[in-house]
């Protein structure tokens, strides 16, 4: 295995993050903090509990998931799209690296950044809202799995995209609506039928539900099903990436 090669890509990508601290770290923390302030501290105190949890605390897992999904996708997609756009990807393609090593380098860096952000957001939330984490190991497990899975998904978008607009379409037009409708701000048990049944077709419901269970021990769907859903999405992403590298789609002519 070309460990130095993986390390080179990882360091290169992490250096990009630290070069752009305001955009990469400060901006997503600020925007998520605004949610905590508005829905947690300001409006939250006037809203009733959900499943016995104060509203401000209830929305924390969903908000973290919203940021985690968007950041993982945008970090990983930009990481591979930009060298394609500038042409510098020639260096990675001509290096003695397997496709798995390339994925570990880019996706590993994107997932690391997302996890860092997730932890920073969690610490920031403490400033505004009181919350507990009943199953901290499961919480970290969900955090790592989700960051890795959606970084893989972002990597696919970065390989597929051939302009900057396509890079933004999926996070803005698909992931954000699915997260808002996936129980970030409510329990899907509060929805009337058929909306509740329809919500079960939204994969983000399972991610938020599992993550929320790790905090408060309550879930919309069985936690094992949530875990299976994340693993299923991860396997699907890995299969698509393997196909892309095998065929050279959008990478090699």
């Amino acid at each position: 295995m070309n460990l130095y090669g993986i390390r080179a890509i990882y360091i290169f990508e992490m250096a990009r993050t630290f070069r752009t601290l305001m955009e990469s770290i400060a901006s997503p923390i600020l925007s998520t903090s605004l949610y905590f302030v508005v829905f947690g501290a300001a409006i939250g105190s006037r809203m009733g509990d959900i499943d016995g949890i104060g509203y401000g605390a209830f929305i924390i897992p969903g908000l973290l998931m919203l940021s985690l999904l968007n950041e993982s996708i945008s970090n990983a997609s930009f990481g591979i799209y930009f060298p394609k756009f500038t042409g510098t990807v020639y260096e990675v393609l001509s290096a003695p690296l397997s496709s798995l090593e390339i994925v570990i380098g880019y996706v590993g860096a994107a997932a690391t950044k997302s996890v860092m952000l997730g932890i920073l957001m969690l610490l920031t939330a403490r400033l505004f809202v009181d919350y507990q984490i009943l199953h901290p190991l499961w919480m970290i497990g969900f955090l790592l799995l989700t960051a890795t899975t959606f970084s893989l998904f972002g990597f696919i978008i970065g390989l597929w995209a051939d302009d900057f607009q396509k890079l933004q379409i999926v996070p803005l037009m698909v992931v954000t609506p699915l997260t808002f409708l996936g129980g970030a701000f409510y329990s899907i048990d509060m929805l009337p039928e058929p909306w509740r049944a329809l919500s079960l077709f939204n994969p983000v419901v399972y991610l938020i539900s599992g993550f929320r269970w790790s905090f408060y021990g309550v879930a919309d769907v069985n936690v094992a099903v949530s875990l299976a859903m994340i693993c299923g999405i991860m396997l699907a992403c890995l299969a698509i990436i393997a196909w892309i590298f095998k065929t050279g789609y959008r990478l090699k002519t």
């Binding site: 130095y4 090669g5 990009r16 042409g87 020639y90 002519t253």
Partner: protein, 308 residues
């Protein structure tokens, strides 16, 4: 012959229908400087990109130092350094970091002393902390060479290395290429500057419409295909060529002040002696004589024109 790169029946057919390479067979000798010449779109860059793993071949095989570029790609690629034609750089990185990145990609441990030497050799040491976007075009070109050398390759591909660089830098690069060859690095360069190939190459290959139409030692090529010209400066100008000289390959040049005689260096009899006697008989006095050989550029143009 010890081949470091062996290309067998290599073809590339793009999805657009373009046949970029057609059954190319070529051997590059270990330690040589090989110049690949060809007009735009001839297939030079496609050939290089296939060997380096950037483009997938449609058919055929390539072995680099005995290693197949597909089955044994790690071994094959680790021996190759590539300087691309375009100035492709990560603009926001600094010089030192991008070199470390290049070395790492090829699976090599950090080697600060080596990278310092490379940067010094290419006059970039003072710029090691400078962002790439702040470098001049010539410096970026040198940086690309430094990146390609960072993992100590045995083979260096230079795709149009001196395109757009000034004369001084071009000569510096030629010297650097010669130093690399002295260290045993095999160099394959594509160029539009024929003088570059003429100056540096041991062997020359000409590619046209995806086919290798000629591979020859440079000296042998120039000797075989080269033509010599003899320019005779006249005492008195001529307006028309006398009929007695009609059978000679002669041209009136310099507005009648000279006659240019073209002859083949491979022929036993050049005909110069007979021509001079005939001129003497006709009373055409000669003031000066000057002979010149055709350049590689003329040879190349003739070859490609004959094929078109």
């Amino acid at each position: 012959m010890d081949s470091i790169i062996s290309i067998q029946d290599l073809s590339k057919h793009y999805a657009s229908g373009l046949q970029a390479l057609n059954r190319v067979n070529l051997d590059i000798r270990r330690g040589e400087i090989f110049a690949l010449l060809g007009p735009n779109g001839a297939g030079k860059t496609t050939l290089i990109n296939i060997i380096c793993g950037i483009v997938t071949p449609s058919a055929g095989s390539v072995r680099v130092d005995g290693h197949d570029i597909s089955a044994d790609y790690r071994q094959a690629r680790s021996r190759i350094g590539l300087v691309p034609q375009e100035l492709l750089t990560a603009a926001f990185e600094n010089v030192e970091a991008t070199l470390q990145f290049s070395r790492g990609l090829f699976g090599k441990p950090p080697a600060p002393a080596l990278l310092e030497q490379i940067l010094r050799d290419l006059s970039l040491w003072d710029k090691r902390k400078t962002k790439i976007m702040a470098l001049s075009g010539g410096m970026k070109r040198r940086l690309l060479i430094a990146k390609a050398l960072a993992h100590e390759p045995d083979i260096l591909f230079l795709d149009e290395p001196t395109a757009g660089v000034d004369v001084e830098l071009r000569r510096d690069m030629w010297q650097m290429v010669r130093r690399l060859r002295e260290r045993g690095v095999t160099i394959i360069l594509t160029t539009h500057y024929i003088e570059e190939a003429e100056e540096m190459a041991d062997r020359i290959g000409v590619i046209h419409k995806g086919e290798i139409i000629l591979v020859e030692d440079k000296a042998a090529l120039m000797s075989k295909l080269g033509k010599k010209q003899l320019e005779l400066t006249l005492q008195a100008p001529l307006t028309t060529l006398p009929t007695e000289l009609a059978d000679y390959p002669l041209e009136i040049t310099r507005e009648g002040h000279a006659l240019t005689y073209t002859f083949d260096t491979q022929q036993e009899q050049t005909g110069i002696h007979e021509l001079l006697r005939q001129l003497d008989r006709l009373g055409i006095d000669i003031k000066d004589l000057h002979s010149s050989e055709s350049s590689l550029e003329e040879i190349f143009v003739n070859l490609v024109r004959d094929r078109s």
